[in-house]
């Protein structure tokens, strides 16, 4: 079973829920797909055993074969190629902007002169290790890089479906989240009871409905705001899986990178109960 943990906005406690749920279950594989700002390793302190560089294919033009016909520029939907036409100054040439390339392969496939081959460009790293009896995998996007979805897909290529897979998804509602939650059987949305929390929850719910993924809500710091999140869930028949009240002790544990269940073992049962609730729904 694959469970992802997401939230419309960051800082609601998504990683906390993912980490503590994982630590309360057995036979777990943990994937941190928040590749822009991976945090789970701070709490799980994995021992990394393998590292793989993550690449996307980008075009490389063989100047000798290219006649500057402009076809590659025409087919690239992302303006990642510019062609300087032939003229007085020479036979013309092609410029590639690897940062804009999505690695779709159109240019190399469609170049009439077969002048383009694809070379690997590094976008980040996938690290695999062990943490407290579970398999741990995360991706780290290189600084200055913009293509997080391909890296997320490369983390998720390593899903082991014999295990209970817990995915820490990136925040938001656009491409990176979609790439991360796409394969999940169930998604836990973490929010807090403030106007910001509600606003972002509504958006996240729309995304999951559109993707047809089952989901439920965890309300974190459940006593700091008002009851509008509760009412929204009731009105829309969204199950509330768990409420965690604000607790300075939990905030302190979090700040030091210590999982809740390590110090407050009663939470293990709460997380297990939540897991059982989810299992019943599937």
């Amino acid at each position: 079973m694959i469970i992802s943990v997401a939230s419309g906005k960051g800082g609601t406690g998504k990683t906390t829920i993912a980490v503590n749920l994982a630590l309360s279950l057995s036979n777990v594989q943990f994937l941190d797909c928040d590749v822009e700002e991976p945090n789970a390793h701070i709490f799980l302190k994995p021992e990394i055993r393998e590292k793989f560089l993550a690449f996307i294919p980008v075009p490389e033009v063989d100047e000798a074969k290219c006649n500057a016909c402009g076809k590659c520029r025409e087919v690239c939907a992302y303006h990642a190629i510019a062609v300087i036409p032939p003229g007085d100054s020479g036979k013309g040439s092609v410029l590639v902007f690897p940062h804009l390339c999505h690695g779709c392969g159109a240019c190399s496939l469609l170049c009439p002169q077969k002048a383009i081959k694809e070379v690997n460009k590094e976008i980040g790293v996938v690290e695999i290790g062990q943490a407290r009896g579970m398999q741990f995998i995360h991706g780290k996007l290189n600084v200055g890089e913009i293509m997080s979805p391909p890296l997320i897909r490369q983390v998720e290529d390593r899903i082991d479906s014999d295990k209970t897979v817990i995915i820490d998804a990136p925040p938001g509602t656009s491409c990176p989240v979609i790439a991360a939650v796409k394969k999940s059987d169930y998604c836990i949305l973490v929010t807090e009871p403030t106007p910001f929390g509600l606003n972002d929850l509504v958006l996240a719910v729309e995304v999951l409905r559109k993707m047809k993924i089952l989901f439920g809500v965890v309300i974190n710091r459940s006593d700091i705001g008002d009851d509008k999140v509760e009412r929204f869930c009731q009105d829309n028949k969204i199950p509330i899986l768990m409420r965690i009240p604000f607790d300075k002790e939990i905030a302190l544990l979090y700040s030091r990178g210590i999982p809740i269940v390590q110090e407050k073992t009663e939470y293990k049962d709460r997380f297990r109960n939540m897991f059982n609730k989810i299992k019943e729904r599937l």
């Binding site: 496939l109 606003n199 993707m211 700091i224 302190l252």
Partner: protein
């Protein structure tokens, strides 16, 4: 004119709360919300929308099964797994690269332009506000950010505004990079947690990569004094000014619930701390 973007790397550190307070403190400015994925600033600024614009960006493939000869070429060649074996295109997976439309021998695939969102020019009691809404499950948030940054810059130059104050997106990827272009100062709001420090460092690396000057704010600094000290030590070693610290204070979520900015309703101590920060970054 000075352009300031408030970012955090990690979400939930109080970035939007601080930005909204600047809307009250700054004179002659334009406010901008570049967190187009999960825009929240409007919940505190209460805009009246004056202009509404469609944001068209990117394309999605459309396959006409009546013309298709079922050769299967598109299924094999699409690198994003967007075309299923029964020749249905999943619009969420489709990245709009257009490869399938170019290779289809029967011309069964056309590329259609997406309406990826909307952007607005609004009035608020604090002055003009430019914001946007990305369509659900849409891509190209970076392009939408670039669009509204451009609009706000043009407007600020024409109207001789003194400040453009931007609530930036979370993370370090394409929307953040788009929000940083041409700014005079990136204010990084962090909190004294190991994750907060970790993420602030990553986003500061991004700023360094694009040569954007950085200042820092430590929010909820008294939640863990040791880590706050660690953050200050880091900022010193990295030669980054800490523009101020804000205490952990339950009056802040209360202002949020009331839909007002922190400087209009939080405790006096918090208001003083925020005013000091604005003084330091506005010069």
């Amino acid at each position: 004119m000075k352009q300031i973007v408030v970012i955090s790397g990690k979400g939930g550190t109080g970035k939007t709360i601080l930005t909204a307070s600047f809307a009250v403190l700054a004179n002659n400015k334009i406010m901008v919300d570049c967190d187009v994925d999960a825009a929240d600033l409007h919940l505190l600024l209460h805009p009246h929308i004056r202009e509404r614009h469609e944001f068209r960006s990117g394309k999605t493939a459309r396959l006409d099964k009546k013309i298709c000869n079922r050769c299967g070429k598109c299924i094999v060649l699409c690198r994003f797994g967007a075309i299923s074996d029964d020749l249905t295109i999943d619009p969420i997976s489709c990245e709009g690269c257009g490869l399938c439309s170019h290779v289809c021998p029967s011309g069964a695939i056309t590329m259609e332009e997406n309406i990826a969102g909307e952007w607005f020019i609004s009035d608020t009691k604090y002055g003009p506000f430019i914001h946007a809404k990305l369509g659900i499950a849409e891509e190209n948030s970076g392009k939408l950010v670039a669009k509204i940054r451009q609009v706000s810059k043009d407007m600020a130059e024409k109207g001789r505004f003194d400040y453009v104050i931007v609530d930036g997106p979370p993370g370090i990827g394409c929307p953040v990079i788009a929000s940083l272009s041409g700014v005079d100062c990136a204010l990084v709001v962090t909190e004294p947690t190991l994750s907060g420090l970790h993420d602030a460092r990553r986003v500061i690396e991004v700023c360094a990569y694009f040569k954007v000057p950085v200042k820092m704010v430590i929010n909820k600094y008294d939640l863990n004094i040791d880590i706050s000290k660690e953050i200050e030590a880091y900022s010193q070693s990295a030669n980054i000014e800490v523009a101020g610290k804000i205490r952990f204070d339950s009056s802040i979520p209360k202002t949020l619930v009331k839909g007002i900015t922190a400087v209009e309703g939080a405790s006096e101590a918090v208001i003083r701390e925020i005013k000091d920060i604005w003084k330091k970054i506005s010069i």
